[in-house]
């Protein structure tokens, strides 16, 4: 047990920055250029941790607290979600909701820190982030409900254990819907194209990137690292829905989660390279569409259960 949790924590801490590297490499391959090395984010975080910090006169302790609360909530969420095995160190009945709301806590403080700078750019980012996350929350919870309701549970561990592996793709389209919806939410929450462009700081694409414009030094390291952890959490969730991860963990569990995470990162890179960013007024439609798709999934679940 303890060994299982240690492995879980190690994977949670060490693996995520690799995913951003994979996404970057995929996009570079599509664009026909060489791109940064796979381990770039590790180097960036290391470099930033050794830098000094500059704080704005306008900011208060909220600005200094923002990256810390955000990273702490992401890591706590990582301890609630099963990663390398069938359960997590902090699993309990109802952890699905704790997961979603821990992410919400991080978002709140990021937005507050953005408003703390007194700059209209960060305010713009915070406002858009508030709008889109309010619409992405229902989509995420409905998708999780698709998985949890047939298993009569509110815990990730039990829900994953109850997934029908033998007849997955063919007979259970609702799991496919849940996967698609969670993937769409992943794109929205992690500021990927088509919702946001992570590569630029232009006004047109300002959502996540601009909220953290003023952070520097170790704060910025926490933020970059946190964004990697967030992608890893969503990817791990998707992996658990697609492939059965061995309940006891061990080497197979680590392999599945890491390989699955890399595969999803490649998929993200493909999506990002293949599409243009949506106009901002279309993003709410994208998210409402995801929620409605999730609702359709629930209807399918209910139909099968005989309502």
């Amino acid at each position: 047990m303890i060994a299982q949790w240690v492995v879980h924590v190690l994977v949670l801490l060490l693996f995520p920055p690799l995913l951003l590297g994979v996404i970057g490499t995929t996009k570079a391959w599509f664009a026909g250029r060489k791109g940064p090395p796979l381990l770039q984010l590790y180097f960036d975080v290391w470099k930033l941790l050794h830098k000094e910090a500059v704080y704005s006169r306008t900011t208060t302790w909220i600005f200094r607290a923002g990256p810390i609360v955000s990273l702490a909530s992401l890591l706590s969420a990582g301890l609630v979600l099963p990663l390398t095995s069938g359960s997590a160190p902090l699993s309990f009945g109802g952890d699905v909701i704790a997961f979603a709301y821990l992410l919400g806590l991080g978002r709140y403080f990021t937005m507050a820190a953005a408003l703390d700078t007194g700059s209209s750019f960060e305010g713009m980012g915070a406002s858009r982030e508030a709008a889109f996350s309010a619409l992405a929350e229902p989509a995420l919870l409905v998708a999780l409900a698709i998985v949890c309701v047939p298993a009569s549970t509110v815990s990730f561990a039990d829900a994953f254990a109850a997934l029908p592996w033998s007849s997955w793709g063919a007979a259970h389209p609702e799991i496919l819907i849940a996967v698609v919806v969670i993937f769409l939410v992943l794109l929205a929450e992690n500021s990927r194209i088509p919702v946001d462009d992570p590569a630029t700081h232009l006004e047109l694409t300002m959502i996540h990137e601009v909220m953290v414009l003023d952070h520097s030094g170790p704060d910025f390291a926490f933020i970059l690292y946190g964004s990697a952890v967030k992608i890893f959490l969503f990817s791990a969730l998707l992996v658990h829905l697609i492939i059965p991860v061995s309940p006891d963990g061990g080497w197979l569990g680590i392999l599945v989660v890491c390989a699955g995470g890399v595969a999803i990162a490649v998929a993200i890179g493909v999506v990002e390279s293949g599409m243009a960013r949506l106009r901002l007024v279309r993003v709410p439609q994208f998210l409402i569409g995801a929620s409605v798709l999730g609702a359709i999934g629930i209807f399918v679940v209910l139909l099968r259960a005989g309502r």
Binding site: A170, P173, L176, P284, I288, V292, I296, F299, L303, G306
Partner: protein, 219 residues
């Protein structure tokens, strides 16, 4: 229905949702074409006609599949693209009900259709409630599309969706090629005539083009 049919039906519903959410005529036509392709695969999964059935049955089935594929998957979209280009418009004006609300209405119609499908206990639909539900949902969504859109090409697409819904219901209830389904094919012919009429005379539903209206996107 066999297991893969369920996934296919869900894909049809997802495409309906996509068609309701988009403003662009080109995307809508392509989604409709994809629906046609999926619909042509449905009879193979549902009717249970395999290597062990008679020659004529298999031929009949093959004819329907190939016919649907060609007409709905290739011919009608091609004609619609031509109509779109000849009139030079690529986007729908903002529909009567905003796109956000349309998506929510789509969800509600789906829910209503699923509820009705479980409520109506049609004997032939035993164990095939999914097909009936999806077919009804598609039917309602198609009707909604016709009501909601100004542009006549979108309305033709809506009619195509209605007709797909009818086909799905027919296959759910009957499960083998029969007269009813061939009547459905005649509906396709009707659609083709409508589209040709659109091309030839640029007939429009009342109150569409002609004047700038809200949502006219000029980028």
């Amino acid at each position: 229905m066999t297991t893969y049919a369920d996934s296919l039906l869900v894909a049809l519903l997802a495409l309906d949702l996509y068609m309701v959410s988009t403003n662009r005529l080109g995307s809508c036509i392509r989604a409709s074409a994809l629906q046609g392709v999926l619909l042509s695969a449905l009879p193979v999964l549902v009717s249970g006609i395999g290597p062990s059935s008679s020659f004529w049955d298999a031929m009949h089935l093959a004819a329907i599949v190939i016919g649907t594929l060609c007409v709905k998957g290739l011919l009608i979209p091609w004609v619609l693209f031509r109509a779109m280009r000849s009139r030079g418009e690529t986007r729908e004006f903002e529909p009567f009900v905003s796109l956000h609300l349309s998506q929510v209405i789509n969800g509600v119609l789906c829910g209503g259709a699923f509820w009705i499908a479980t409520g109506l206990s049609l004997p032939a639909a035993n164990g095939h409630a999914m097909g009936l539900a999806v077919g009804l949902a598609t039917l309602f969504i198609g009707l909604y599309m016709i009501i909601n859109r100004h542009n006549s090409i979108s309305q033709v697409l809506g009619f195509l969706v209605v007709e797909s819904g009818v086909m799905v219901i027919a296959w759910a209830l009957l499960r083998k090629p029969s007269f009813v389904i061939e009547v459905g094919a005649l509906l396709d012919v009707l659609v083709a005539v409508m589209v040709l009429g659109v091309l030839a005379t640029s007939l429009e539903a009342t109150g569409s083009e002609g004047g700038v209206r809200k949502g006219d996107t000029s980028q």
